[in-house]
């Protein structure tokens, strides 16, 4: 396949609020190559979550074009869309809210396998065990209920679910933001591992600039629904050009700030 994996052009979405219309996303365009990590950062209200929901078609755009794996992504509907979804998956921020409260780990992983017919029914338990081991969990966890396992384990299950259908792109919507710092590093390690082995591209939405700087290839900074700055992640964060970029970098917590700004 030649050309970018994901190509977004002029994406726009408006929401009607009391007191006027808000352009949550306003003419956003970007592209992603296979196997790369593109990070999306920005202050609250910058539209980064909305971009995630637009790319995964949880919400339909008002304007713009999206091409995924060479196909018109927005034109797909119904059964055709559902079938192609196997290639574009998502991991959510809150690992508890991301699952049906009554689900067990086995059921969570069985669903995508069943829906897309990845393996025959008799093979599924074996595949579930393999998926669990791939994300660093014991195969015996399959019988446990989602609310019984820890937050870090839950997020690993979420990642297992996302890779079950062998996607080429995973949208990580603040996927490590709700985890403890000590757990975060291991999950990021797992994600980068999977990326290297399976050549999965990540659209990484987050607010931890330090993390994005070390884990992402490229970075886009959004502000008020528009792209304020984009480029190599290291370059953008080490030397931001836009006002919002500079503000975000300045606001990142660091040890012993020498400049205690006047409030």
């Amino acid at each position: 396949m030649s050309g970018p994996l994901l190509s977004v052009a002029g994406l726009s979405k408006r929401f009607d609020r009391a007191g006027g219309t808000v352009m949550a996303v306003d003419g956003v365009s970007f592209a992603m190559e296979p196997g790369e990590t593109l990070a999306l950062a920005g202050p609250s209200g910058s539209g980064k979550s909305t971009v995630a929901r637009l790319v995964t078609r949880l919400v339909e755009p008002d304007a713009g074009a999206v091409s995924f794996e060479g196909q018109d992504w927005l034109a797909l509907r119904g059964a055709a869309l559902r079938a192609r979804r196997a290639r574009l998956q998502m991991v959510f921020q809150d690992p508890l809210a991301a699952f049906n409260p009554r689900a067990t780990v086995a059921r969570v992983l069985d669903d995508p396998l069943r829906i897309h017919g990845i393996v025959a029914r008799s093979e599924r338990p074996r595949r579930i065990a393999a998926l669990l081991e791939r994300v660093g969990l014991e195969a015996s966890l399959a019988g446990r209920a989602i609310h019984e396992i820890s937050g870090g384990q839950r997020q690993r299950v979420a990642i297992a679910r996302a890779i079950a259908t062998k996607p080429s792109l995973i949208v990580l919507d603040e996927a490590v933001s709700a985890l403890d710092v000590s757990v975060r590093a291991k999950i990021v390690e797992l994600l980068l591992d999977l990326q290297r082995e399976e050549k999965i591209a990540y659209l990484f939405i987050g607010h931890d600039l330090g993390l994005m700087r070390v884990a992402a290839h490229r970075l886009i900074i959004l502000d008020g629904g528009r792209i304020a700055e984009q480029g190599d992640a290291l370059a953008v964060i080490d030397a931001p050009q836009s006002a919002i970029g500079k503000a975000l970098v300045a606001a990142a917590p660091r040890f012993f700030r020498t400049d205690r700004e006047a409030s």
Partner: protein
Amino acid sequence: MTAPLVSVRDLGVAYAGGREARARQALHGVDLDIAAGERLAVIGESGSGKSTLALAIAGLLPGTAGVAGSIQWFGNREGQRSPPSVLPDISPSRGEISQSPASKPLISPLEGEMSGRTEGGEERPSKDTRTARPGRDIGFVFQDPAASLDPVLSVGEQVAEVARAHFGLDWTHAYARAADLLGRVRLPDPRGALRAFPHQLSGGQKQRVAIAAAIAARPKLLIADEATSALDAIVQAEIVALLRRLTEEDGMTLLFVSHDIALAAGLADRIAVFRGGGMVELGSVAQVIEAPRHAYTRALLDAHIGLDAVPLVATGQAR
């Protein structure tokens, strides 16, 4: 060291089992003194007990929680008064406000006795000097600003209510004080904000309102329980700066609970690190950051990915 404001000795807290959770020991054997006027950060991950400590000191634990040990409050000692919350043009350091117990400042911003920017009111004498009065002695700022504000009351009403309840002000004076407070927390258009409802404000603005309500009764201790965790980095830095300024101006003591040790390092004088219900380290910021004694503290520091860390991927080109 000067006498502490709060003295925690051998504190243990156990939550009763219920429909949702098993009974569990959230804190055990905590010994801690909080000095008057200091900024103490309590750092820990989930399950460390840091929020439980904050709730215990504030007296906000559920009725079914079992508490062992003691929390002593020394804020109401004879001769000690809460410093009046004043703005720069009238300050205690310039001797313009008398601190003697004999005088009762009854200064109303409406009567123009000061330059209209001080807060005053009748002190309600406390009958029990050994227990902290919630709201009056201790202010609390919660993590979720949307949940800590009543959605059906206007912002002004909620802040004014605190002043009314503790100082017996009538509504006019209380609203005037509320406008002052909203100005102090740097809300744009404080007078207009009085009429606004929480859903009309952004997350950062809501948190400013929550802080205003927390300090409205001029508490001696302000507890911020993950108060910035739900906010984005820029707003977070602003709120931290706001907390620093307010505590400096008022001489308030600050207990700042967070999971982010780097954030706390920029605000606190001392850091206490909690893990699994117990305190593992306590020391000055410099000591904890540069020479941590406990391996867990070291692990927490190492887990922080600063803007100078080594990249894990080769940038420039993907793959």
